[in-house]
Symmetry: C2
Subunit: 350 residues, 2 copies
């Protein structure tokens, strides 16, 4: 059951309630589903910006600067930092890192780190739910920060409207690595520490890679967004206005605040593009459909696990398969038969 | 429905029936489940050897030599070559490659290539089913050959009792790449083309990597099989006899037949180890349990897809989520409610 008081306090802007809600979500505590359900109707106002990049690309510093700059403009900010490799929740609940790293001391930058307590798939669901809580709370900007280029990190970053990829300078290797899946999901590439040697080359390599990607085959390059279209896995390249987004590259030196204004402008441009092109809604549709499918899968697995348990556990079935008394297909049929019979019976009665 | 005549002819040793059975399996034709079910009780006699390695490691040549050598010893052989990247079935049904590449012209080397017609997950299931057909047919040795080190290829190779990994010589990069998951599953590493420059260094690098893996941390190295134990993802390191398998390294020059005898001996040793340690059964148990889980997942997804379709399609639900009339959790509950109610009702009546 949901806790109506928690929902009420969160919607009234109490940071303590927000923190507790996210803890409930992260720990999958009883009632978290009803909580997220209750919050969903209050969402839709925030811009969600995903930030990824290898360790050493200066992600935390840049995220802190972005948050501080948004605050200076009077916007409220929530930061969720994901550490898929950490088995525990490392961070303090309220903004320690932000406050240490910058001059922002107010509570309107809400910082929260989350980690892989359960499965990574679960972490991606939990991240989306935490974003729901921050959005319902009324944060204007939500930054979701994660490490690396694995499929799970990509799934996490895909909970965002805009995806920012940080690339450390002078690392030809890292640009190569981007091919492994990050290039396709980046809306904005940031070469941070742009004062270091090799930054120019990195920018150049990124540019070539994006152009190659957009053109498909070098020499036949067009100007219509393979990058943007790949992101949404399979649907049409052109959107309602025929307008497409070409992945942007921005250079920053986060620790001195250089390039941050330009970055904010680029992020605003991407946001405008999302609205004008109808892509924001397209992306939301895809995300919700995927979320429903994931939940159905998880819930069904749970139902099946209960059914298997009730019938003596999987080992009993495996014993019979080993003894050649039955086989995996027959076992699957046997276990699903009651479900199918039920559904069929129900349909018959309708 | 199964085709009893097809099963009968396959069990009677007709290669034409075997070929048709594998086609039915690969194409998921109606009746393939019943076919595999009917064949399962006749399995358990074959040794299944998985062969993987990057392109250029000389896999095909070595597999041909192995098959030819087994034939010379009077054993029957089946080869399944998987090409996950190919969208069509490339090979001839009966042994063209074998016959071209060696002197074996008889029908007792049955060669079949399979490819990714459907999903790669499905390919792994289809491969296991094709192995079932070859095993029931009575082949003594079944070689399953695949390319690369992705998760799907690893899943395919894990349908084997013994996993052989080919490493091209002189490729430090390739040995590094092994870290990405192949090292853990290899029972026997083969440095083929061992007459090429760099082969010694590759063998040395492999040896160090295996020792590092076994010891866990250098300097605290023990001699008990982290390698073998990792393979079965999580259960105890020591088996019934306390005996463990240390991943072996064999050098071959397949095109001249050098080292093939030694390789066969090593494969026989691993087979003896599997029997003596009880690990063959442990692996079979894990494999069957995983197969049942996979089938349950696939079948349930199908049931759910039908249920969603029956209720007007997912888009209708997504529309309501976008309009904030409902949310993904509530939709999942709504869709699963009939299934749960059915199962609960049934349990109540018992």
């Amino acid at each position: 059951m949901s806790d109506p008081e928690l929902v009420e306090q969160l919607l009234a802007g109490k940071h303590r309630a927000l923190a507790r809600a996210i803890t409930n979500i992260e720990d999958r505590e009883p009632g978290y589903r009803e909580l997220v359900s209750a919050l969903h109707r209050h969402t839709g106002g925030a811009d969600v910006i995903g930030v990824t990049g290898s360790p050493g690309s200066g992600k935390s510093t840049l995220v802190d600067k972005l948050a501080a700059t948004y605050r200076e403009r009077g916007l409220t900010v929530g930061v969720i930092a994901i550490d898929p490799s950490s088995p525990y929740t490392g961070g303090a609940v309220l903004g320690d890192r932000i406050r240490m790293g910058s001059n922002v001391g107010d509570m309107d930058v809400f910082f929260r780190s989350m980690s892989a307590r359960g499965s990574l798939g679960g972490l991606s669901t939990a991240t989306a739910d935490a974003v729901t809580a921050l959005d319902a709370f009324g944060k204007d900007k939500i930054l979701v920060e994660t490490v690396g280029a694995g499929q799970n990190e990509i799934d996490i970053v895909k909970t965002a409207d805009t995806v920012m990829v940080l690339v450390p300078p002078g690392s030809g290797d890292d640009v190569q690595m981007l091919k492994a899946g990050i290039l396709e999901i980046g809306d904005v590439f940031v070469v941070n520490k742009a004062d270091l040697e090799g930054a120019d080359r990195t920018v150049q390599e990124l540019r070539e890679m994006i152009e190659y990607q957009e053109g498909g085959i070098p020499g036949t390059a067009g100007h219509h967004g393979a990058v943007a279209s790949v992101k949404e896995s399979g649907d049409s390249q052109s959107d309602e206005t025929g307008e497409d987004w070409q992945a942007a590259i921005v250079e920053t030196v986060a620790k001195r605040g250089e390039g941050v204004e330009e970055l904010l402008e680029t992020l605003a441009e991407h946001r405008a593009y999302l609205d004008a092109s109808g892509r924001r809604e397209t992306q939301a549709r895809l995300r919700y459909a995927e979320k429903i499918r994931t939940l159905l899968r998880e819930d069904t697995n749970e139902l099946l696990a209960e059914e298997i348990e009730r019938r003596g556990g999987l080992d009993r079935f495996v014993d019979r398969v080993l003894a050649r008394e039955t086989d995996p297909y027959a076992v699957a049929d046997e276990l699903l038969e009651p479900v199918e019979a039920c559904l069929d019976g129900r349909r018959g009665r309708e």
